[in-house]
Symmetry: none
Subunit: 239 residues, 2 copies
DNA sequence: ATCGTCTTTACAAACTTTTTATGAACCCTT
DNA sequence: AAGGGTTCATAAAAAGTTTGTAAAGACGAT
């Protein structure tokens, strides 16, 4: 793909759509817009964008349903736009496989940063993910065979669950991971309500990997939603 | 050359050197290490290794210069280790006659595969690691034919199962070996649940090879997971 | 029958995970 | 801007497994 990255914007507010289109186009992206989920799906099949930005509240097929249908046919990164107070819906969207969310109102710069992050992640070498024996991400180095972990060169010791949690975070760097997702991945589907487990383990993990556990740099809290892992906080800065 | 293939490791990072040495020795290679290019050249003239593994960034004579000087006097296969993002230097090294390169970080298995490939290409003794008759790894010396073992020069007597267990450990130095893996390897697939066997045999083995069985240096426990064998514990464990 | 080895059993010590409790942080409403 | 209700961070206790070790029983070879 030597072309500009293609971004599909799905939103029923013409004003917001216009802002997004001009903002994204001026940064070199190729942008197309659709006014509802149905039109969005058609545009996707037609145009094969590299990233989809969708609002949640929409006529016809809404943002949630759009996520579901897109995930059924594609791994395209999805960024969800949502109004404040739609926490529950946001979580649903993320559980359905959305990559990130931005809460309205937002600055165009914030959205652009998230777009860059998602595109980078999508293009990033998911090389031999299944067979990779070494994970290397930002300040983190993990040898899955020897189960040795270093952060910025310093070796650390993790318990098995802590190890699994960190590996999961690294493998989904940048994505917003909901509590449910994390619990299902690490404890199994019967434990998706045990948020306390997560709190304790995230806390312990932070104590071991964060320079200052009180102001985390790597494992970021998304209140009401879940956590987000940033392996290299200098690059992903938003402001 | 009836001996094991000889490998010269040139690297100024003691930790990496140690990993390479134990990893290669445990597979039946004869290994010598040098801390910089100058020492590497001397060792080469002295010892005539069958293969040279060298880092790029080093004090005194660096990896590039080492390649150049080696090529002036020998066709010995050279494998270059390089950090991420040293693409340009990598190309230079290959132009100078290096045979292969491996990007850090790498798994020991990847390096071993390249070593085998380079030796094969060089028509070096096609000695199969699997048929090596002597293992030399850290403080351990094992003769697979006579089934004799010395630890730090002291001969010890092991029962057959203990012997097989130790050999398995040595051949997989540094890796964490799960209970299942060990049980399957030594007792067969029907015994993968018999963790008690393992406990007893590891305990007995420790009594015979550890200076102090109560605080093991060689056979390390990975709680909930399995065991890890470290043939050459120089750096004291981090807690 | 004896010896050496492997298997089985038992229990305390060590370690991880789960549970509980408390104060701080956060979001929404007024 | 302030208050109520949740959620989050943290420490520490409780519960549950696993591990280390000794020792007894089983098996086979000499």
């Amino acid at each position: 793909m030597t072309d500009q990255p293609r971004i599909l914007v799905v939103d029923d507010e013409p004003q917001l759509t216009r802002v997004l289109r001009t903002g994204l186009k001026s940064r070199g992206y190729d942008v197309r817009a659709a006014a509802d989920g149905l039109a969005g799906l058609e545009a996707f099949n037609d145009w094969h964008p590299d990233l989809v930005i969708t609002d949640l509240a929409m006529p016809n097929v809404d943002g949630l349903e759009l996520c579901r249908r897109l995930r059924a046919i594609s791994q395209v990164p999805i960024i969800v736009l949502s109004a404040k107070g739609e926490e529950k819906t946001k979580v649903e969207a993320l559980d359905l496989g959305a990559d990130d969310f931005v809460t309205k109102p937002f600055g165009i710069d914030e959205l652009l940063a998230r777009v860059r992050a998602s595109l980078r992640r999508a293009n990033a070498p998911p090389i031999n993910e299944a067979t990779a024996t070494v994970l290397d991400s930002g300040d983190f180095h993990v040898d899955l065979e020897s189960r040795e972990i270093t952060v910025s060169g310093k070796a650390i010791h993790l318990t098995p669950k802590e190890f699994d949690l960190l590996v999961y975070f690294i493998r989904h760097s940048g994505k917003v991971l909901t509590h449910r997702t994390l619990l299902a991945a690490l404890w199994g589907g019967n434990y998706v309500e045990q948020n306390e487990y997560l709190r304790v383990f995230v806390g312990n993990l932070r104590k071991k990997i964060e320079p200052d556990a009180a102001t985390p740099r790597y494992i970021l809290t998304e209140p009401w939603i879940g956590y987000r892992f940033d392996p290299d906080p200098q690059i992903t800065q938003i402001k």
